[in-house]
Protein backbone atom coordinates (compact mmCIF):
# COMPACT_ATOMS: atom_id res chain seq x y z
CA UNK A 1 0.00 0.00 0.00
CA UNK A 2 2.74 2.39 1.02
CA UNK A 3 4.61 1.42 -2.09
CA UNK A 4 1.59 2.20 -4.30
CA UNK A 5 1.07 5.59 -2.66
CA UNK A 6 4.69 6.47 -3.15
CA UNK A 7 4.50 5.58 -6.80
CA UNK A 8 1.45 7.77 -7.27
CA UNK A 9 3.23 10.69 -5.62
CA UNK A 10 6.28 10.12 -7.72
CA UNK A 11 4.28 10.20 -10.94
CA UNK A 12 2.18 13.15 -9.84
CA UNK A 13 5.20 15.31 -9.11
CA UNK A 14 6.99 14.15 -12.23
CA UNK A 15 4.04 15.29 -14.32
CA UNK A 16 3.87 18.63 -12.50
CA UNK A 17 7.58 19.22 -12.99
CA UNK A 18 7.42 18.44 -16.68
CA UNK A 19 4.30 20.51 -17.28
CA UNK A 20 6.33 23.72 -17.16
CA UNK A 21 8.53 22.24 -19.88
CA UNK A 22 5.40 21.74 -21.94
CA UNK A 23 4.47 25.40 -21.48
CA UNK A 24 7.96 26.49 -22.48
CA UNK A 25 7.85 24.34 -25.59
CA UNK A 26 4.38 25.68 -26.41
CA UNK A 27 5.53 29.27 -26.10
CA UNK A 28 8.57 28.67 -28.31
CA UNK A 29 6.50 26.89 -30.95
CA UNK A 30 3.86 29.63 -31.06
CA UNK A 31 6.48 32.40 -31.16
CA UNK A 32 8.29 30.68 -34.02
CA UNK A 33 5.25 29.77 -36.07
CA UNK A 34 3.64 33.22 -35.67
CA UNK A 35 6.80 35.17 -36.39
CA UNK A 36 8.30 33.21 -39.28
CA UNK A 37 5.87 34.55 -41.95
CA UNK A 38 7.30 38.07 -41.59
CA UNK A 39 10.74 36.86 -42.66
CA UNK A 40 9.40 36.00 -46.09
CA UNK A 41 8.68 39.74 -46.47
CA UNK A 42 11.71 41.19 -44.70
CA UNK A 43 15.10 39.56 -44.33
CA UNK A 44 16.26 38.75 -40.80
CA UNK A 45 19.13 41.21 -41.21
CA UNK A 46 16.85 44.02 -42.36
CA UNK A 47 14.43 43.24 -39.56
CA UNK A 48 17.06 43.32 -36.80
CA UNK A 49 19.14 46.20 -38.16
CA UNK A 50 16.57 48.27 -40.06
CA UNK A 51 16.39 51.80 -38.70
CA UNK A 52 12.73 52.64 -39.27
CA UNK A 53 9.68 51.13 -37.68
CA UNK A 54 6.62 52.17 -39.68
CA UNK A 55 4.46 49.04 -39.51
CA UNK A 56 1.16 50.56 -40.62
CA UNK A 57 2.27 52.49 -43.70
CA UNK A 58 2.25 51.49 -47.34
CA UNK A 59 4.90 50.21 -47.95
CA UNK A 60 5.45 49.17 -44.35
CA UNK A 61 8.92 49.27 -42.78
CA UNK A 62 9.81 46.71 -40.16
CA UNK A 63 13.21 47.69 -38.78
CA UNK A 64 13.45 47.06 -35.06
CA UNK A 65 16.95 48.43 -34.37
CA UNK A 66 15.50 51.54 -32.63
CA UNK A 67 13.37 49.28 -30.43
CA UNK A 68 16.24 46.92 -29.55
CA UNK A 69 18.55 49.84 -28.76
CA UNK A 70 15.81 51.48 -26.69
CA UNK A 71 15.40 48.29 -24.64
CA UNK A 72 19.15 47.94 -24.11
CA UNK A 73 19.60 51.65 -23.36
CA UNK A 74 16.80 51.74 -20.80
CA UNK A 75 17.96 48.47 -19.19
CA UNK A 76 21.54 49.73 -18.98
CA UNK A 77 20.24 52.85 -17.25
CA UNK A 78 18.19 50.71 -14.91
CA UNK A 79 21.33 48.70 -14.07
CA UNK A 80 23.13 51.88 -13.09
CA UNK A 81 20.37 52.42 -10.53
CA UNK A 82 19.60 48.92 -9.29
CA UNK A 83 23.11 47.45 -9.03
CA UNK A 84 24.41 49.94 -6.44
CA UNK A 85 21.04 49.98 -4.67
CA UNK A 86 20.45 46.23 -4.73
CA UNK A 87 23.99 45.01 -4.08
CA UNK A 88 24.55 47.77 -1.54
CA UNK A 89 21.46 46.83 0.42
CA UNK A 90 22.41 43.15 0.25
CA UNK A 91 25.86 43.94 1.64
CA UNK A 92 24.33 46.00 4.42
CA UNK A 93 21.81 43.29 5.28
CA UNK A 94 24.45 40.57 5.39
CA UNK A 95 27.52 42.22 6.79
CA UNK A 96 26.47 45.21 8.85
CA UNK A 97 22.83 45.03 9.91
CA UNK A 98 21.96 43.50 13.25
CA UNK A 99 19.60 40.57 13.31
CA UNK A 100 16.68 42.87 14.20
CA UNK A 101 17.43 45.42 11.50
CA UNK A 102 17.58 42.65 8.94
CA UNK A 103 14.26 41.25 10.12
CA UNK A 104 12.61 44.61 9.39
CA UNK A 105 14.55 45.71 6.30
CA UNK A 106 14.49 42.57 4.19
CA UNK A 107 10.68 42.21 4.07
CA UNK A 108 10.36 45.94 3.42
CA UNK A 109 12.68 45.74 0.39
CA UNK A 110 10.68 42.79 -0.85
CA UNK A 111 7.48 44.85 -0.63
CA UNK A 112 8.96 46.93 -3.47
CA UNK A 113 8.69 43.81 -5.64
CA UNK A 114 5.00 43.43 -4.87
CA UNK A 115 4.01 46.93 -6.02
CA UNK A 116 2.12 46.44 -9.33
CA UNK A 117 4.04 47.80 -12.30
CA UNK A 118 1.19 50.10 -13.31
CA UNK A 119 1.57 51.88 -9.98
CA UNK A 120 5.23 52.49 -10.79
CA UNK A 121 4.11 53.69 -14.21
CA UNK A 122 1.68 56.17 -12.72
CA UNK A 123 4.29 57.43 -10.31
CA UNK A 124 6.73 57.89 -13.19
CA UNK A 125 4.23 59.63 -15.43
CA UNK A 126 2.66 62.00 -12.94
CA UNK A 127 5.48 62.76 -10.51
CA UNK A 128 8.93 61.75 -11.80
CA UNK A 129 8.62 62.83 -15.47
CA UNK A 130 7.35 66.38 -14.77
CA UNK A 131 10.01 66.73 -12.06
CA UNK A 132 12.87 65.69 -14.39
CA UNK A 133 11.45 67.91 -17.12
CA UNK A 134 11.71 70.94 -14.88
CA UNK A 135 14.97 69.90 -13.22
CA UNK A 136 16.97 69.29 -16.40
CA UNK A 137 15.06 71.79 -18.58
CA UNK A 138 14.37 69.12 -21.16
CA UNK A 139 11.51 69.40 -23.70
CA UNK A 140 9.67 66.38 -22.29
CA UNK A 141 10.03 64.29 -19.15
CA UNK A 142 8.79 61.05 -20.72
CA UNK A 143 12.20 59.78 -21.79
CA UNK A 144 14.80 57.05 -21.37
CA UNK A 145 16.04 58.60 -18.12
CA UNK A 146 12.64 58.45 -16.38
CA UNK A 147 12.11 54.90 -17.57
CA UNK A 148 15.60 53.88 -16.38
CA UNK A 149 15.09 55.33 -12.92
CA UNK A 150 11.73 53.65 -12.43
CA UNK A 151 12.90 50.31 -13.84
CA UNK A 152 15.98 50.50 -11.64
CA UNK A 153 13.84 50.86 -8.55
CA UNK A 154 11.63 47.99 -9.74
CA UNK A 155 14.59 45.65 -10.31
CA UNK A 156 16.23 46.50 -6.97
CA UNK A 157 14.40 43.84 -4.90
CA UNK A 158 15.33 41.13 -7.42
CA UNK A 159 18.99 42.09 -7.35
CA UNK A 160 18.97 42.57 -3.58
CA UNK A 161 17.42 39.25 -2.65
CA UNK A 162 19.60 37.17 -5.01
CA UNK A 163 22.77 39.03 -4.00
CA UNK A 164 21.73 38.55 -0.37
CA UNK A 165 21.45 34.79 -0.93
CA UNK A 166 24.87 34.77 -2.61
CA UNK A 167 26.44 36.62 0.30
CA UNK A 168 24.84 34.34 2.86
CA UNK A 169 26.38 31.35 1.08
CA UNK A 170 29.87 32.67 1.79
CA UNK A 171 30.94 30.51 4.75
CA UNK A 172 31.57 32.38 7.97
CA UNK A 173 34.95 30.65 8.21
CA UNK A 174 36.11 32.90 5.31
CA UNK A 175 35.34 36.02 7.34
CA UNK A 176 36.84 34.58 10.53
CA UNK A 177 40.00 33.62 8.71
CA UNK A 178 40.26 37.11 7.28
CA UNK A 179 39.77 38.76 10.68
CA UNK A 180 42.27 36.31 12.16
CA UNK A 181 45.05 37.54 9.90
CA UNK A 182 44.32 41.09 11.01
CA UNK A 183 42.14 42.42 8.15
CA UNK A 184 39.56 45.03 9.14
CA UNK A 185 35.92 44.93 8.17
CA UNK A 186 36.34 46.90 4.92
CA UNK A 187 39.25 44.76 3.77
CA UNK A 188 37.32 41.59 4.59
CA UNK A 189 34.33 42.87 2.65
CA UNK A 190 36.18 44.01 -0.48
CA UNK A 191 38.92 41.38 -0.65
CA UNK A 192 37.24 38.27 0.72
CA UNK A 193 33.44 38.36 0.86
CA UNK A 194 32.66 40.15 -2.42
CA UNK A 195 35.13 38.09 -4.51
CA UNK A 196 33.80 34.90 -2.94
CA UNK A 197 30.21 35.88 -3.71
CA UNK A 198 31.23 37.50 -6.99
CA UNK A 199 29.58 35.15 -9.41
CA UNK A 200 26.43 35.01 -7.26
CA UNK A 201 26.28 38.79 -7.38
CA UNK A 202 26.80 38.69 -11.17
CA UNK A 203 23.85 36.32 -11.40
CA UNK A 204 21.80 38.81 -9.40
CA UNK A 205 22.78 41.59 -11.78
CA UNK A 206 21.94 39.58 -14.89
CA UNK A 207 18.57 38.45 -13.55
CA UNK A 208 17.87 42.07 -12.58
CA UNK A 209 18.66 43.01 -16.18
CA UNK A 210 16.25 40.34 -17.46
CA UNK A 211 13.62 41.78 -15.18
CA UNK A 212 14.22 45.30 -16.50
CA UNK A 213 14.30 44.40 -20.19
CA UNK A 214 11.08 42.40 -19.96
CA UNK A 215 9.09 45.01 -18.04
CA UNK A 216 6.23 46.37 -20.13
CA UNK A 217 3.62 48.54 -18.45
CA UNK A 218 6.07 50.98 -16.91
CA UNK A 219 8.04 51.64 -20.08
CA UNK A 220 4.82 51.93 -22.05
CA UNK A 221 3.71 54.72 -19.74
CA UNK A 222 7.00 56.46 -19.02
CA UNK A 223 9.51 55.98 -21.86
CA UNK A 224 7.76 58.31 -24.32
CA UNK A 225 7.37 55.81 -27.13
CA UNK A 226 9.28 57.44 -30.00
CA UNK A 227 10.64 54.75 -32.32
CA UNK A 228 13.91 56.57 -32.94
CA UNK A 229 17.48 55.46 -32.28
CA UNK A 230 18.24 56.97 -28.87
CA UNK A 231 20.90 59.67 -28.88
CA UNK A 232 20.83 60.54 -25.18
CA UNK A 233 19.05 59.65 -21.97
CA UNK A 234 16.81 62.67 -22.48
CA UNK A 235 15.28 61.29 -25.69
CA UNK A 236 11.90 59.59 -25.69
CA UNK A 237 12.37 55.94 -26.66
CA UNK A 238 10.23 52.94 -27.55
CA UNK A 239 11.45 49.67 -25.99
CA UNK A 240 10.44 46.35 -27.60
CA UNK A 241 7.92 45.44 -24.89
CA UNK A 242 6.16 48.80 -25.19
CA UNK A 243 5.88 48.42 -28.97
CA UNK A 244 4.28 44.99 -28.64
CA UNK A 245 1.87 46.07 -25.91
CA UNK A 246 0.82 49.26 -27.66
CA UNK A 247 0.34 47.80 -31.12
CA UNK A 248 -0.89 44.23 -30.65
CA UNK A 249 -4.46 45.28 -29.87
CA UNK A 250 -4.86 47.05 -33.19
CA UNK A 251 -2.75 44.90 -35.50
CA UNK A 252 -4.99 42.89 -37.86
CA UNK A 253 -4.66 39.21 -36.89
CA UNK A 254 -2.58 37.31 -39.45
CA UNK A 255 -1.22 40.47 -41.09
CA UNK A 256 2.45 41.43 -41.56
CA UNK A 257 2.33 43.80 -38.60
CA UNK A 258 0.96 41.02 -36.39
CA UNK A 259 3.73 38.63 -37.42
CA UNK A 260 6.33 41.37 -36.99
CA UNK A 261 5.17 41.94 -33.39
CA UNK A 262 5.58 38.21 -32.73
CA UNK A 263 9.06 38.41 -34.22
CA UNK A 264 9.89 41.23 -31.77
CA UNK A 265 8.64 38.97 -28.99
CA UNK A 266 10.89 36.21 -30.30
CA UNK A 267 13.90 38.54 -30.30
CA UNK A 268 13.06 39.64 -26.76
CA UNK A 269 12.67 36.04 -25.65
CA UNK A 270 16.04 35.19 -27.18
CA UNK A 271 17.71 38.06 -25.31
CA UNK A 272 16.25 37.15 -21.90
CA UNK A 273 16.88 33.46 -22.57
CA UNK A 274 20.57 34.17 -23.19
CA UNK A 275 20.73 36.30 -20.03
CA UNK A 276 19.25 33.48 -17.99
CA UNK A 277 21.63 30.89 -19.42
CA UNK A 278 24.61 33.12 -18.64
CA UNK A 279 23.27 33.65 -15.11
CA UNK A 280 22.85 29.90 -14.66
CA UNK A 281 26.38 29.19 -15.92
CA UNK A 282 27.92 31.78 -13.64
CA UNK A 283 26.02 30.58 -10.59
CA UNK A 284 27.03 26.97 -11.27
CA UNK A 285 30.67 27.97 -11.43
CA UNK A 286 30.17 29.85 -8.17
CA UNK A 287 28.74 26.82 -6.37
CA UNK A 288 31.63 24.66 -7.54
CA UNK A 289 34.15 27.28 -6.41
CA UNK A 290 32.75 27.33 -2.89
CA UNK A 291 32.50 23.56 -2.82
CA UNK A 292 28.72 23.72 -2.35
CA UNK A 293 28.00 21.17 -5.04
CA UNK A 294 30.07 18.89 -7.15
Amino acid sequence: MVNFKERVYKWLFTILAFSSLVFLAGIIIVLLSESLPIFSKVSVFKFLFGKSWYPTYEPAEFGILPLILASLWVSAGAMAVCVPLGVGSALYLNEIASYRQKAVLKPLIEVLASVPSIVYGFFGMVILAPFLQGFFHIPIGLCALSASLILGIMATPTVCSIADDALSYVPNSFREASFAVGADRWQTLTRVVIPAAGSGISTAVILGMSRAIGETMTVLMVAGGAAVIPGSFFDPVRPMTAAIAAEMGEAPVGGDHYHALFAIALALFAVTFIFNIIAEMISRRFRIKLGLSG
Binding site: S52, Y57, I140, A226, A227, P236, A246, G249, E250
Partner: protein, 270 residues
Protein backbone atom coordinates in the same frame (compact mmCIF):
# COMPACT_ATOMS: atom_id res chain seq x y z
CA UNK B 1 -33.57 17.52 6.07
CA UNK B 2 -31.30 20.54 6.22
CA UNK B 3 -29.43 19.26 3.21
CA UNK B 4 -32.62 19.02 1.19
CA UNK B 5 -33.72 22.51 2.16
CA UNK B 6 -30.33 23.84 1.27
CA UNK B 7 -30.34 22.19 -2.13
CA UNK B 8 -33.79 23.62 -2.90
CA UNK B 9 -32.51 27.11 -2.06
CA UNK B 10 -29.46 26.52 -4.23
CA UNK B 11 -31.57 25.32 -7.15
CA UNK B 12 -33.77 28.40 -6.82
CA UNK B 13 -30.73 30.63 -6.81
CA UNK B 14 -29.31 28.95 -9.88
CA UNK B 15 -32.60 29.41 -11.72
CA UNK B 16 -32.70 33.08 -10.77
CA UNK B 17 -29.16 33.50 -12.09
CA UNK B 18 -29.95 31.63 -15.27
CA UNK B 19 -33.05 33.69 -16.09
CA UNK B 20 -31.20 36.61 -17.77
CA UNK B 21 -29.60 34.11 -20.14
CA UNK B 22 -32.91 33.89 -21.94
CA UNK B 23 -32.77 37.64 -22.62
CA UNK B 24 -31.65 38.79 -26.06
CA UNK B 25 -27.98 39.52 -26.17
CA UNK B 26 -25.78 41.91 -28.15
CA UNK B 27 -22.00 41.80 -28.00
CA UNK B 28 -20.15 44.93 -29.14
CA UNK B 29 -16.41 45.37 -29.44
CA UNK B 30 -13.96 47.79 -30.98
CA UNK B 31 -12.78 51.39 -31.11
CA UNK B 32 -12.11 53.10 -27.81
CA UNK B 33 -13.27 56.33 -29.47
CA UNK B 34 -16.75 54.94 -30.05
CA UNK B 35 -16.73 53.19 -26.66
CA UNK B 36 -18.25 56.02 -24.57
CA UNK B 37 -21.22 56.39 -26.96
CA UNK B 38 -21.75 52.63 -27.15
CA UNK B 39 -21.48 52.19 -23.40
CA UNK B 40 -23.82 55.01 -22.44
CA UNK B 41 -26.37 54.07 -25.09
CA UNK B 42 -26.27 50.43 -23.98
CA UNK B 43 -26.78 51.45 -20.35
CA UNK B 44 -29.82 53.58 -21.09
CA UNK B 45 -31.26 51.07 -23.55
CA UNK B 46 -30.98 48.25 -21.02
CA UNK B 47 -32.64 50.35 -18.33
CA UNK B 48 -35.63 50.80 -20.58
CA UNK B 49 -35.68 47.30 -22.07
CA UNK B 50 -35.00 44.90 -19.22
CA UNK B 51 -34.98 41.90 -21.59
CA UNK B 52 -31.97 43.24 -23.52
CA UNK B 53 -28.46 42.31 -22.50
CA UNK B 54 -25.77 44.37 -24.22
CA UNK B 55 -22.09 43.91 -23.46
CA UNK B 56 -19.57 46.46 -24.71
CA UNK B 57 -15.83 45.90 -25.00
CA UNK B 58 -12.99 48.10 -26.27
CA UNK B 59 -9.95 46.77 -28.09
CA UNK B 60 -9.64 49.27 -30.91
CA UNK B 61 -11.04 49.73 -34.41
CA UNK B 62 -9.02 46.81 -35.82
CA UNK B 63 -10.42 44.52 -33.15
CA UNK B 64 -13.99 45.73 -33.80
CA UNK B 65 -13.80 44.97 -37.50
CA UNK B 66 -11.91 41.70 -36.93
CA UNK B 67 -14.61 40.57 -34.48
CA UNK B 68 -17.29 41.15 -37.13
CA UNK B 69 -15.21 39.20 -39.64
CA UNK B 70 -14.67 36.37 -37.15
CA UNK B 71 -18.30 36.48 -36.07
CA UNK B 72 -17.41 36.94 -32.40
CA UNK B 73 -19.53 40.07 -31.97
CA UNK B 74 -22.82 41.49 -33.26
CA UNK B 75 -21.68 45.09 -33.64
CA UNK B 76 -18.10 46.12 -34.38
CA UNK B 77 -17.20 49.72 -33.51
CA UNK B 78 -14.61 51.58 -35.55
CA UNK B 79 -13.41 55.14 -35.91
CA UNK B 80 -12.25 54.53 -39.49
CA UNK B 81 -13.71 53.09 -42.68
CA UNK B 82 -13.11 49.39 -43.28
CA UNK B 83 -9.90 48.65 -45.27
CA UNK B 84 -9.96 46.78 -48.55
CA UNK B 85 -7.86 43.96 -47.07
CA UNK B 86 -10.44 43.58 -44.31
CA UNK B 87 -13.28 43.55 -46.83
CA UNK B 88 -11.56 40.75 -48.75
CA UNK B 89 -11.13 38.78 -45.55
CA UNK B 90 -14.78 39.33 -44.67
CA UNK B 91 -15.85 38.09 -48.10
CA UNK B 92 -13.64 35.03 -47.69
CA UNK B 93 -15.37 34.34 -44.37
CA UNK B 94 -18.77 34.77 -46.00
CA UNK B 95 -19.58 38.02 -44.16
CA UNK B 96 -21.43 40.92 -45.65
CA UNK B 97 -20.18 43.89 -43.64
CA UNK B 98 -22.59 46.83 -43.39
CA UNK B 99 -21.51 50.25 -42.09
CA UNK B 100 -23.67 52.52 -39.92
CA UNK B 101 -22.51 56.06 -39.20
CA UNK B 102 -23.48 56.80 -35.60
CA UNK B 103 -21.85 60.19 -34.97
CA UNK B 104 -19.13 62.54 -36.18
CA UNK B 105 -15.85 63.15 -34.42
CA UNK B 106 -13.55 66.10 -34.85
CA UNK B 107 -9.83 65.83 -34.17
CA UNK B 108 -8.67 68.91 -32.33
CA UNK B 109 -5.03 70.04 -32.46
CA UNK B 110 -3.97 71.11 -28.99
CA UNK B 111 -0.95 72.89 -27.56
CA UNK B 112 0.15 73.89 -24.07
CA UNK B 113 -1.67 76.92 -22.65
CA UNK B 114 1.66 78.79 -22.44
CA UNK B 115 2.10 78.58 -26.23
CA UNK B 116 1.64 81.91 -28.03
CA UNK B 117 0.70 80.36 -31.41
CA UNK B 118 -2.81 81.38 -32.38
CA UNK B 119 -3.48 79.01 -35.25
CA UNK B 120 -1.90 76.80 -37.90
CA UNK B 121 -2.46 76.12 -41.55
CA UNK B 122 -2.84 72.54 -42.66
CA UNK B 123 0.61 72.75 -44.26
CA UNK B 124 2.22 74.01 -41.05
CA UNK B 125 0.51 71.20 -39.13
CA UNK B 126 1.84 68.67 -41.61
CA UNK B 127 5.34 70.19 -41.42
CA UNK B 128 5.29 69.89 -37.63
CA UNK B 129 4.18 66.28 -37.55
CA UNK B 130 6.41 65.08 -40.41
CA UNK B 131 9.49 66.72 -38.92
CA UNK B 132 10.08 69.55 -41.43
CA UNK B 133 9.71 72.13 -38.64
CA UNK B 134 11.16 71.54 -35.17
CA UNK B 135 11.09 74.89 -33.41
CA UNK B 136 8.11 77.08 -32.54
CA UNK B 137 10.07 80.21 -33.58
CA UNK B 138 9.79 79.08 -37.24
CA UNK B 139 6.02 79.44 -36.91
CA UNK B 140 6.06 82.78 -35.13
CA UNK B 141 6.16 81.42 -31.61
CA UNK B 142 8.84 81.54 -28.93
CA UNK B 143 12.21 79.82 -29.31
CA UNK B 144 11.23 76.43 -28.01
CA UNK B 145 11.69 72.90 -29.33
CA UNK B 146 8.51 71.37 -30.70
CA UNK B 147 7.53 68.15 -28.93
CA UNK B 148 5.14 66.36 -31.28
CA UNK B 149 2.82 64.00 -29.44
CA UNK B 150 1.09 61.37 -31.48
CA UNK B 151 -1.01 58.28 -30.91
CA UNK B 152 0.24 54.74 -31.40
CA UNK B 153 0.47 54.03 -35.10
CA UNK B 154 -2.30 51.45 -34.96
CA UNK B 155 -4.92 53.57 -33.18
CA UNK B 156 -7.96 54.70 -35.14
CA UNK B 157 -7.40 58.33 -34.19
CA UNK B 158 -3.84 58.11 -35.51
CA UNK B 159 -5.01 56.66 -38.80
CA UNK B 160 -7.65 59.36 -39.15
CA UNK B 161 -5.09 62.06 -38.35
CA UNK B 162 -2.52 60.59 -40.74
CA UNK B 163 -5.10 60.58 -43.53
CA UNK B 164 -6.81 63.90 -42.80
CA UNK B 165 -3.83 66.01 -41.75
CA UNK B 166 -0.73 64.35 -43.15
CA UNK B 167 -2.12 62.96 -46.42
CA UNK B 168 -0.57 59.62 -45.52
CA UNK B 169 2.94 60.98 -44.94
CA UNK B 170 4.99 59.44 -42.15
CA UNK B 171 4.88 60.92 -38.69
CA UNK B 172 8.35 62.06 -37.52
CA UNK B 173 10.10 59.16 -35.87
CA UNK B 174 10.93 61.15 -32.73
CA UNK B 175 7.27 61.86 -32.00
CA UNK B 176 6.26 60.82 -28.50
CA UNK B 177 3.57 58.15 -28.71
CA UNK B 178 0.77 57.95 -26.17
CA UNK B 179 -1.79 55.22 -25.77
CA UNK B 180 -5.00 57.24 -25.32
CA UNK B 181 -6.66 60.60 -25.98
CA UNK B 182 -6.52 61.29 -22.25
CA UNK B 183 -2.77 60.58 -22.10
CA UNK B 184 -2.13 62.94 -25.04
CA UNK B 185 -4.17 65.72 -23.42
CA UNK B 186 -2.45 65.40 -20.05
CA UNK B 187 1.03 65.22 -21.60
CA UNK B 188 0.34 68.37 -23.64
CA UNK B 189 -0.99 70.09 -20.51
CA UNK B 190 2.29 69.34 -18.68
CA UNK B 191 4.76 70.01 -21.51
CA UNK B 192 5.33 73.62 -22.64
CA UNK B 193 6.59 72.85 -26.17
CA UNK B 194 4.10 70.09 -26.88
CA UNK B 195 1.55 69.77 -29.67
CA UNK B 196 -0.87 66.86 -29.91
CA UNK B 197 -4.22 65.86 -31.31
CA UNK B 198 -7.30 64.49 -29.54
CA UNK B 199 -11.01 63.89 -30.06
CA UNK B 200 -13.21 66.97 -29.71
CA UNK B 201 -14.48 65.71 -26.36
CA UNK B 202 -11.03 65.94 -24.83
CA UNK B 203 -10.58 69.70 -25.17
CA UNK B 204 -10.32 71.04 -21.62
CA UNK B 205 -9.31 74.39 -20.14
CA UNK B 206 -5.88 72.91 -19.35
CA UNK B 207 -4.93 72.77 -23.05
CA UNK B 208 -5.34 75.20 -25.96
CA UNK B 209 -7.15 74.06 -29.11
CA UNK B 210 -5.87 75.72 -32.30
CA UNK B 211 -7.86 76.78 -35.35
CA UNK B 212 -6.69 74.95 -38.48
CA UNK B 213 -6.84 76.89 -41.76
CA UNK B 214 -8.62 79.56 -39.73
CA UNK B 215 -11.44 77.30 -38.54
CA UNK B 216 -11.83 76.42 -34.88
CA UNK B 217 -12.85 72.80 -34.23
CA UNK B 218 -16.44 72.88 -32.99
CA UNK B 219 -19.58 70.86 -33.37
CA UNK B 220 -20.88 73.14 -36.11
CA UNK B 221 -17.68 73.27 -38.12
CA UNK B 222 -17.26 69.48 -37.93
CA UNK B 223 -20.82 68.76 -39.01
CA UNK B 224 -20.68 71.21 -41.89
CA UNK B 225 -17.28 69.77 -42.91
CA UNK B 226 -15.73 73.24 -42.73
CA UNK B 227 -13.19 71.94 -40.23
CA UNK B 228 -10.83 69.69 -42.16
CA UNK B 229 -9.95 67.24 -39.38
CA UNK B 230 -13.33 65.58 -38.98
CA UNK B 231 -14.44 62.00 -39.47
CA UNK B 232 -17.48 59.76 -39.12
CA UNK B 233 -17.68 57.06 -36.43
CA UNK B 234 -18.94 53.66 -37.50
CA UNK B 235 -20.74 50.66 -36.13
CA UNK B 236 -20.42 47.62 -38.38
CA UNK B 237 -22.81 44.68 -38.58
CA UNK B 238 -22.80 41.45 -40.53
CA UNK B 239 -25.56 41.85 -43.10
CA UNK B 240 -28.52 44.18 -42.61
CA UNK B 241 -29.24 44.40 -38.87
CA UNK B 242 -32.34 42.67 -37.54
CA UNK B 243 -34.03 42.05 -34.22
CA UNK B 244 -32.44 43.60 -31.17
CA UNK B 245 -29.36 44.78 -33.11
CA UNK B 246 -31.60 46.79 -35.44
CA UNK B 247 -33.61 48.22 -32.54
CA UNK B 248 -30.43 49.23 -30.73
CA UNK B 249 -28.88 50.88 -33.82
CA UNK B 250 -32.17 52.71 -34.44
CA UNK B 251 -32.03 53.88 -30.83
CA UNK B 252 -28.51 55.28 -31.31
CA UNK B 253 -29.54 57.05 -34.51
CA UNK B 254 -32.69 58.46 -32.85
CA UNK B 255 -32.67 61.92 -31.32
CA UNK B 256 -32.23 60.39 -27.83
CA UNK B 257 -29.22 58.37 -29.00
CA UNK B 258 -27.71 61.37 -30.74
CA UNK B 259 -28.17 63.38 -27.57
CA UNK B 260 -26.00 60.77 -25.83
CA UNK B 261 -23.32 61.18 -28.51
CA UNK B 262 -23.50 64.92 -27.93
CA UNK B 263 -23.21 64.54 -24.15
CA UNK B 264 -20.16 62.31 -24.59
CA UNK B 265 -18.37 65.06 -26.49
CA UNK B 266 -18.99 63.95 -30.08
CA UNK B 267 -20.94 65.65 -32.80
CA UNK B 268 -24.53 64.51 -33.22
CA UNK B 269 -25.69 63.80 -36.76
CA UNK B 270 -28.71 66.06 -36.32
Amino acid sequence: MRLIRRSIVMAGLLLALAAPCYAEKIVMAGSTTVLPIAQKAAEIYMQENSSADISVRGGGSGVGIASIIDGTCDIGNASRPIKSAELEKAAANGRDVKAHVVAMDGIAVIVNTSNSIEGLSKKQLKDIFTGAVSNWSKLGGSDEKIVAISRDSSSGTFEAFATLALDGAKVRSDAVLQASNQAVASTVARTPGAIGYVGLGYITPSVKALPINGTMPSKTTVLTNKYILSRPLFMYTNGAPSGLVKEFLDFIKSSRGQQIADEEGFVALR
